[in-house]
């Protein structure tokens, strides 16, 4: 074994420990809910029998479905149009999609609340602000995924072939472009899901029921249940990442980089 090889192993092992020790600790902690019983699944039982858990989790599911639909309907036609007709606008569109890196979630929430709190547009009482905030969060992944997907297909030929067969814009988009971007859209969708399902900042500051604020509430009031929730949450993140890798296998889907939360 070469000397450099030993160092590589040491660094790798440290990295693996950093990755796994908190997970093991969380698992260990979540199994200690009963005094003299180990392992005890009491914490998981409590979480899964709490009606609030289902209420908040399904709210978050609803938010993520809404976000995914709105974000897809906004990003796919826009990116398609940039590829097909307005390539000069690409930097401008890309710049907007990268805004969540410049405006942190908490700052954007602050601006949204101050702007839409009162007349002339009191949107604060409708969930528009929450979904809009989530859409902004999803833009970098959605745009990047769709952009990569569009680059792999011949947009012009597909569009003109469809049009010469009499297709209108709706048909071109929904029956030609969308099906060809299945994989790209799906990887954007799962990433958006992974972000929105446990999101805390927007939901908590805008006062909507969601899984993130519920977790935080439980963390402030209970001892062992938060660890159980952290594990459930980790499994969700892990599951979405695995799905992205699975559907994107062999297609060179780029690694996705998250914004601040």
């Amino acid at each position: 074994m070469r000397k450099s090889n030993i160092w590589a192993w040491i660094i790798l092992i440290v990295g693996i420990l950093y990755f796994f020790v908190p997970l093991v600790a969380t698992l260990d902690f979540s199994l200690r809910a009963e005094k003299d019983v180990y392992p005890s699944f009491e914490a998981f039982r409590t979480v899964f029998s709490d009606p609030e858990f289902y209420k908040n989790f399904s709210s978050s599911l609803g938010w993520s479905v809404l976000t995914i639909i709105c974000s897809t309907l906004l990003i796919v036609p826009t990116t398609y149009w940039v590829h097909y007709r307005l390539p000069n606008w690409r930097p401008a569109v890309e710049f907007v999609t990268l805004m969540p890196f410049v405006v942190p979630a908490v700052v954007l929430t602050f601006g949204l609340i101050r702007l839409y709190c009162c007349d002339p547009l009191p949107l604060i009482s409708s969930p528009i602000l929450l979904v809009a905030g989530y859409m902004v969060l999803s833009f970098p992944y959605m745009f990047r995924a769709v952009d990569t997907g569009l680059r792999a297909i011949d947009v012009r030929t597909l569009t003109e072939a469809a049009q010469s067969l009499g297709a209108g814009w709706g048909t071109v988009l929904f029956r030609v472009i969308f099906p060809n971007l299945r994989v790209a859209i799906l990887s954007g969708v799962f990433l958006t899901f992974a972000i929105v399902i446990g999101e805390f900042t927007f939901a908590s500051l805008l006062n909507w029921p969601a899984f993130g604020p519920y977790m935080e509430y439980l963390g402030a009031t209970r001892a062992y249940e938060p660890a159980a929730l952290a594990l459930i949450s980790f499994l969700l993140t892990w599951g979405s990442t695995m799905l992205i890798q699975y559907i994107g296998r062999g297609r060179g889907v780029e690694t996705q980089v998250a914004g601040t939360r």
């Binding site: 090889n5 160092w7 590589a8 660094i11 790798l12 440290v14 990295g15 990755f19 020790v21 908190p22 600790a25 969380t26 902690f29 979540s30 036609p77 826009t78 149009w81 007709r85 307005l86 569109v93 907007v96 990268l98 942190p104 979630a105 908490v106 700052v107 954007l108 602050f110 601006g111 609340i113 101050r114 702007l115 809009a132 902004v136 990433l191 992974a194 446990g198 805390f200 900042t201 993130g212 977790m215 935080e216 963390g219 938060p226 660890a227 929730l229 952290a230 949450s233 980790f234 993140t237 990442t241 992205i244 890798q245 690694t255 996705q256 980089v257 998250a258 914004g259 601040t260 939360r261």
Partner: protein, 303 residues
């Protein structure tokens, strides 16, 4: 070059090969929904932050809010805390992430480990916010696994003697969990991009391995190294959920103060919250400008 004789429409026998160029195109309408959304939910809120930063509680124009952010000790210390945690985790996460990326790409480890490591990194870089805070409370909190292990082995309770994990250093340990995997994800492809010919050319010219790294590899990698570290900096600087769930109000970060300002006017001056937010946008904006400049430089070698 001969000039094309001007052709009057309808006078010639043959129709024009090309119709006269359109004066106005409606193509931009296709992008209108996207930009309207961006204006309503990104541009206007940001503009409102900028405008309100320069407004006194009575609504007059003033620089007082900006001056207060710099002058007030609690607000200045919030910026100091946010900046130091971002610098610590950007440097620490950047260095460790780079070494790890090196280990799995060029370190001569079994090929299989590389894809495992990249998968781990993909998951870990997305595992942040409230659950991450809980995981670390279970690890290094008052009754966490590591805390108990250290106490069991050495008899020292790390939480005694006034030491608290709910500090900048403790939070840095938490942030590192998503920082270094992000570095691995970005640096691994960059390290793959180092061509073997460059190394061979160096060896043929008699360069040592150190000289190769010092004069060839590191200068090529430098833009992506620095660029990614800027990204890590911004990643930590804007984080709210993780810090809030981990340490609550124990750590006075800028994002925590802004959050408090939203929930109830804790600073007793709405303009001050705007000025705090403006400072964040300015710093993040500078970061992204530096990042995109470095990205363009990094792209030079990957054509």
């Amino acid at each position: 070059m001969s000039q094309t004789p001007s052709v009057k429409l309808g006078t010639g026998d043959a129709p024009l090969a090309r119709p006269p160029s359109r004066k106005f195109s409606w193509d931009w309408l296709g992008l209108a929904p996207f930009f309207l959304f961006a204006i309503a939910f990104l541009l206007l809120p940001s503009a409102s932050i900028v405008i309100n930063s320069f407004k006194s509680p009575e609504g007059a124009f003033t620089f007082q809010n900006i001056i207060d952010v710099v002058a007030r000790k609690d607000l200045r210390s919030a910026y100091q805390a946010s900046l130091s945690i971002s610098v610590i985790t950007a440097l620490g996460g950047g260095l460790f992430g780079f070494l790890l990326a090196y280990a799995v790409t060029l370190g001569g480890l079994p090929k299989r480990l590389r894809s495992y490591m990249l998968t781990f990194s993909g998951v870990a870089s997305n595992f942040s916010g409230v659950p991450l805070a809980f995981a670390f409370i279970a690890t290094i909190g008052n009754t966490g696994l590591i805390t108990r292990a250290i106490e069991g082995i050495s008899g020292v309770d790390i939480h005694q003697q006034g030491f608290t994990i709910y500090s900048i250093w403790g939070l840095s340990i938490v942030y590192m969990y998503f920082q270094f995997p992000l570095m691995v994800l970005i640096m691994a492809p960059a390290l793959d991009g180092l061509r073997r010919e460059w190394k061979e050319a160096c060896e043929n010219l008699g360069a040592t391995s150190w000289q190769y790294w010092r004069y060839v590899a590191l200068p090529i990698l430098m833009p992506s190294l620095l660029g990614t570290m800027i990204l890590l900096f911004g990643n930590a600087f804007g984080a709210y959920a993780t810090a809030y769930a981990f340490a609550g109000s124990f750590i006075n970060l800028v994002t925590i103060v802004i959050g408090g300002q939203i929930q109830g006017d804790v600073l007793f001056n709405p303009g001050l919250g705007n000025a705090l937010a403006l400072g964040m946008v300015v710093i993040m904006g500078l970061c992204m400008t530096g990042y995109s400049w470095l990205q363009r430089r990094a792209a030079r070698w990957t054509r």
